[in-house]
Amino acid sequence: MAKYKQARIPQRISIALLAMLTSLTGCTKDRSLAPPANSEQVTVQIKVPAELKARTIDVMYRSTLCTFTDHSAYGAPYPRDGYQHMEIEPTRQGQSDIYEAKLPKDGGGACQWRLSNVTFGVSYREPERFGENVVYGAGGGVVVIFDDNASPRGGANIKVDGDLRIEENYYLWVDEEFIGNYRKSVNLTGHGDIYMMYKAPTAQFIYFEPILHSTYIVYSAGPKIKTKEAVTKFTYPDGSILENGDYEPRFQKLEAIRLAAEKNRDHADTR
């Protein structure tokens, strides 16, 4: 009997707590997204080369009506704009290499959600081409922010008026790491960060065309043990080797190598 009682008390507390929590949430507004059919839209178009694939598009909405209480490091409460996010798969346009998604600017609902930012991009389709257990690493992403809030990966330093058209050169970077677990990955190296960040408050149309120069591959091998002098060895497509403490390939160097090679080839053609 005593044992039975002991087990019951916490259950009772938990049920009371559960009931309290549910009743509290029951009072709030319906926070779901409900974009109206006639909403203004932002079109995201991605031209995806054969060796790449489009990633799932992550869209974030914010509401100034539905806020939640956050706390500072010192425990002080303050209100923050509520957010919702949804994932959209971009759809292929016919048999073309254009993938498209339409994002309603107005998220609707009782909270009057507004489009806040979108994360999309490309990744390498077949990392296995570089060996078994090779994974896709990083690069080829784009974040476009439509308001003054941060995206899941922070803010953008480049502000664009009107529509956004991004044409970017990308190179393949095959990296091997030995410390901890052996890991080999294929990455896309572009001129920006692994995610290019833009602020485009008035954009209606966003076009992203990654141009993959897949014949120019930079290989790197990380150190075997960690020291202050440990360097990652980068082998660039022209055979030059850099061991200077870089942890990512130098995009400008890759561009220079490609341009030089193309110039040489043009010379050879004209001769």
Binding site: P10, Q11, R80, G155, N157, I179
Partner: protein
């Protein structure tokens, strides 16, 4: 006009009039380029232009500074002259020059104050200025971007398409430095025929002072505490106080020490100047935005410069007392089979070979690890192959930081946590024994007491089956309140070396009564009849770093010899049991939990340790405690007396951890600079609970 003066007449009919006078007076100019220590910037190629050279009347002035950094130009027209220095040689030499420790530190303009963020330096701060004025020269404080003719080549380059860092490059058109522009065009001669001393701010950037070492460092604790506060930042990007603004703007702004905007006092960081090429090139705040807290939102940031990789994890809702602890209070230990550090396809070892990790924390970590695999997996790990890896966090952030550190233990992470809950179980902690971790606990903070030290998996959750995680939470809280410890095989356990902020109280025992009736009972095995315990008035909060007592550092040993008592292994185990807290946390202790209770205390200790003549209040508390121990030596229980003597001794050792800061290049300057900006009354330090 005198009519008889036929030589001078204004006439519309004959406008060309020969005027007889001597040739125009030509002027000379000397410019001396020096750094902030008054050292010359020699052999730098320059160009100088004025309207005469632009019109082709005279060729452009070219040359290079001499060994004393002096440029001398003669034969100048009395008009303003603009000086350009070749960007690359200038940047190269300026990167190697050091900043002065004491700087003008203008107040940051608040909203509504039209003062620009970067104005010319106030007078009275530069010894170079005083010397120049005393020698009768003109003095100017300039930055590289005001002198160089274009953007110098930088490695790594500045991000393309973004505005230039406004402190070093205030002028995006690189229009050179014009002497005589501040006076009227026809008065430029007033600025000529003299030497101008140009004090050029070195081309440097701020780097947080962090020591990657096994030993405790007060400066590291202070800076990483601030980084744990920064991890909470939700300021809009680009705004003062956001993570990106801190690293991308404040750390490139040499006019002020970077400050973490905490909403109250905005304390300054301890920073050292490093060449501009070693700046923080990447700083990213990451937010899983999976759901509004407390449903599993995880926030963190990381920043990378030439020598550091820094990761700060944010804590969750820690509202009084438990309403929002959903993430924290899901007390179910699960096997730490980590996914943590690898893609699903690649086989990988577990976080720890044995033991369990808290389910709620692991889930929160995994959400971030999956969503930001490119940042946490690729970039942070690859960058940490040669850089020092620092991880920090407050509260839940500490737990997530510990899991993160465990997943990167091959990269030798250094972890500083503040008020973190128990995360791993005993067996798992045992496998992470050689990982560097300093765990700060503020007196009776409650959070380090959760989850309770018990094997909840065996004792509790089997009762509830699959609902255990949800309903068991309540059970655990109830248990926590009742402080009922359940015996088990693998209880939750703390990792790392404890650093305790310990509020020390003392008692005295006196005879309750002189009455013969009571005296007679002495020795009869009933002491409670005759002795009563009374608290003594002096109380002090002590900064206890138990690892310091085993410090074999030269200075620490010298200091320790001054004290008769030293912490023997027996004592150490007694007062600081491994993996446990010094004091029991209690419900009231939740108010000791926030960073607002940790950071002021570390701040006070740091200021006091740099300059013992400051922060007298906290020192007085300790003196009183010490006096009390002498005065009541007979009456204070032996145990308490021995303990508090050791604690006071430990407290006296904390300042010695500044030695490692003084030894690094620029370390002394960093401390001096911090001490100059640190205000005494920045915080109200609460010593008494």
């Amino acid at each position: 006009m005198d009519k008889s003066d036929r030589m001078h007449r204004t006439d519309t009919l004959c406008p060309n009039k020969d005027v007889l006078c001597r040739p125009q007076i030509k002027h000379w100019l000397e410019v001396q380029l020096v750094d902030e220590h008054g050292e010359a910037l020699p052999y730098l190629p320059y160009r100088a232009q004025n309207d005469a050279t632009r019109e082709g009347v005279v060729p452009e002035y070219r040359g290079q500074t001499d060994a004393d950094g002096v440029i001398r130009i003669e034969g100048l027209h009395p008009i303003p002259i603009t000086l350009f220095i070749d960007a690359d040689p200038l940047a190269e030499v300026l990167q190697t020059r050091r900043l002065r420790a004491r700087r003008a530190e203008p107040k940051r303009p608040i909203i509504g104050n039209p003062t620009p963020l970067h104005s010319p330096q106030r007078t009275g701060y530069s010894p170079v200025e005083a010397r120049a004025i005393a020698a009768g020269h003109d003095y100017h404080h300039v930055r590289i971007g005001q002198l160089c003719d274009r953007l110098p080549r930088l490695d790594p380059p500045l991000p393309e398409g973004e505005p230039l860092p406004p402190y070093h490059f205030p002028d995006s058109r690189f229009s050179g430095y014009t002497l005589g522009s501040e006076v009227g065009y026809r008065q430029a001669y007033k600025r000529l025929d003299r030497r101008h001393v140009l004090e050029v701010c070195p081309f440097r950037t701020w780097s947080l002072v962090l020591h990657h070492q096994r030993d405790y460092s007060l400066v590291t604790a202070y800076n990483l505490g601030l980084m744990s506060v920064l991890a909470y930042s939700t300021h809009e990007p680009g705004q003062y106080g956001s993570v990106q603004e801190f690293f991308e703007q404040q750390c490139l702004d040499l006019s002020r020490a970077p400050r973490v905007r905490d909403g109250y006092t905005n304390p300054p960081c301890v920073v050292v100047d490093v060449p501009f090429s070693e700046r923080y090139t990447i700083a990213k705040p990451l937010d899983t935005t999976k759901g509004e807290p407390p449903e599993g939102d995880t926030q963190l940031f990381y920043a990378i410069n030439a020598s550091q990789v820094l990761v700060g994890w944010r804590g969750t809702e820690m509202n009084f007392p438990f309403a929002d602890l959903a993430t924290d209070v899901t007390f179910r230990p699960v096997k730490p089979e980590v996914q943590a550090n690898c893609e699903p396809k690649v086989p990988c070892a577990d976080l720890t070979p044995r033991g369990n990790v808290h389910l709620g924390f692991r889930d929160a970590y995994d959400v971030a690890r999956r969503k930001f695999a490119e940042d946490l997996g690729d970039r942070v790990e690859v960058a940490a192959r040669r850089r020092d890896l620092f991880i920090c966090g407050h509260s839940l952030g500490g737990a997530l930081g510990l899991i993160h550190a465990a997943s990167l233990k091959d990269l030798n992470p250094l972890l500083y946590t503040y008020g973190m809950p128990r995360t791993f179980t005993l067996q798992a902690v045992a496998c992470l024994d050689d990982m560097w971790h300093f765990r700060h606990v503020n007196d009776t903070d409650l959070i380090p007491e959760v989850p309770p030290e018990a094997d909840l998996e065996n004792s509790l959750y089997k009762l509830y089956g699959p609902l255990g995680t949800t309903l068991g939470t309540t059970w655990s809280v109830a248990q926590l309140m009742a402080d009922l410890v359940i015996r088990g095989k693998d209880p939750f356990y703390h990792h790392g070396e404890i650093v305790a902020f310990h509020r020390t109280e003392q008692h005295m025992r006196i005879r309750g009564s002189e009455n013969q009736f009571y005296k007679m009972r002495e020795g009869s095995g009933a002491p409670y009849y005759t002795v009563i315990s009374r608290p003594l008035p002096a109380k002090a909060k002590l900064f206890l770093v138990p690892t310091l007592s085993k410090e074999d550092d030269e200075k620490a040993r010298a200091a320790q010899e001054r004290y008769t008592a030293s912490l023997s292994p027996d004592h150490k185990d007694k007062y600081f049991p491994k993996g446990r807290n010094v004091k029991r946390g209690n419900l009231l202790g939740i108010r000791n939990h926030f960073m607002g209770k940790y950071q002021p205390y570390i701040y006070g200790q740091l200021v006091e340790s740099i300059n013992p003549s400051r922060m007298q209040e906290r020192q007085n508390d300790r003196r009183k405690l010490n006096d009390q121990m002498v005065k009541y030596a007979e009456l204070i229980p032996e145990d308490e007396l021995v303990r508090d003597r050791l604690f006071l001794e430990l407290q006296s050792l904390v300042g010695l951890t500044l030695e490692c800061t003084r030894q690094i290049e620029g370390g002394r300057d960093a401390l001096e600079r911090f001490e100059a900006v640190a205000e005494d009354n920045l915080y109200v330090e609460i010593t008494h609970g």
